[in-house]
């Protein structure tokens, strides 16, 4: 077994086999894993907002779906990975609090998931598995040897996609 690489909030990291890569406690945020069927390296980004274009203060690029995924993609390409071979698994984007009445707050997760899908589509990276939405938090661990994403939720056990 290798080490476990931790991706923080608004952060991305690369991971090389046999290490695994994780991010803890995704709520409305979305975790995106980019990998290929054959390469030893993969990467994960933990985004918290849909778009860098709507926000004035956008210096931390890993915070947003658009710039976060773009930067991770470039880092993977620098390792010699071909963009055409990349696929994605995504998880998160929950609505943690159920508010009475409609508010923007309740839909952050949903908007994050939508933005992630649009960005991945624009880069022509297919999403091969996802576990998104609903109302609970997720901790995710990606094993790039088995190509499996394990999702742990409080009181709900484990799920592998």
């Amino acid at each position: 077994m290798g080490e476990v690489i931790k991706v923080g909030i608004a952060d991305w990291k690369l991971c090389k086999n046999p290490d695994t890569i994780t991010t803890i406690g995704l709520g409305s945020c979305v975790g995106i894993v980019l990998y290929t069927a054959t390469d030893d390296s993969c990467g994960m980004v933990h985004i918290m907002l849909p778009s860098s274009k709507e926000i004035k203060n956008n210096t931390n690029r890993a915070k947003f779906a658009d710039t976060g995924i773009e930067d991770l993609l470039k880092a993977l390409e620098k390792c010699g990975i071909k963009r055409q071979q990349l696929v994605a698994k995504i998880a998160g984007g929950a609505a943690m609090f159920q508010f009475s009445g409609k508010t923007d707050l309740a839909s952050v997760g949903e908007r994050n998931v939508k933005a992630v899908k649009e960005v991945l589509a624009a880069f022509k990276i297919p999403i091969v598995a996802e576990d998104t939405g609903k109302d609970y938090g997720r901790t995710i661990v990606f094993d790039n040897v088995a190509k499996k994403l394990t999702i742990r939720s409080a009181g709900k056990g484990e799920k592998v996609i």
């Binding site: 909030i9 004035k56 931390n60 707050l105 938090g137």
Partner: protein
């Protein structure tokens, strides 16, 4: 807002706001629960987003959190976050219930009780800021969530993320008959609201 812009006078004001808010909130809750609840002098701090879940045992610690948001001349949200044992204590006190060791999940009544406790705490907290500053805002009904701290806190963190990369936090801790409660009340607002607060108090 960054560390440099926060001079010691403003920090004192924020600490005092937190103090008055939490003091009123504690009184309200003590009366309701008939208990000896006290509040510590709040800590005002600037944290990286990753450090916020560490305030209560790390991002995978299961917590119960009640969130209220408010809009107007001051906009933002408050969160009352409790570690699970504390949440059980409080809900149990209010409902006259005990929870056995096989306990896994709060039912509707428990959640409702915790939501009400959070509501009373936070409404008195926010109202006292309103009284102090004479600023107008409306408070929305609260919502509750029981889950991993990282997931629960992702909502206030993404709100803060829209304006910066750090969070200015007023963190109030409570004591139950001198025993520290493992939880906190968090007050988060944006730079514009802070400016309104400072101006209203004559230190703009």
């Amino acid at each position: 807002m960054n560390d440099q812009e926060l001079n010691s006078m403003k920090l004192d004001v924020l600490r005092e706001i937190g103090n008055i808010g939490a003091g009123n909130a504690t009184t309200a809750l003590s009366v309701m629960l008939n208990s000896g609840l006290r509040v510590e002098v709040p800590v005002v701090k600037m944290l990286d987003f990753d450090e916020i879940p560490d305030m209560i045992g790390g991002p995978d610690t299961v917590v119960a959190a009640v969130l209220t948001h408010f809009t107007g001349e001051v906009s933002g949200m408050t969160l009352f976050v409790l570690e699970m044992e504390e949440a059980k204590n409080l809900a149990g006190t209010m409902l006259g219930r005990t929870y056995d060791e096989n306990f896994t999940e709060f039912d509707y009544m428990d959640r409702s009780a915790l939501k009400e406790i959070g509501n009373i705490l936070m409404s008195s907290y926010i109202s006292s800021i309103g009284t102090l500053t004479n600023l107008k805002f409306t408070i929305a009904p609260p919502a509750i969530c029981v889950d991993m701290a990282g997931s629960v806190l992702s909502l206030p963190i993404s709100e803060l993320g829209q304006v910066g990369d750090k969070a200015l936090i007023i963190d109030s801790k409570f004591l139950d008959n001198e025993r520290p409660i493992n939880g906190f009340l968090l007050f988060v607002t944006d730079d514009v609201s802070y400016e309104h607060i400072f101006q209203a108090l004559g230190i703009g």
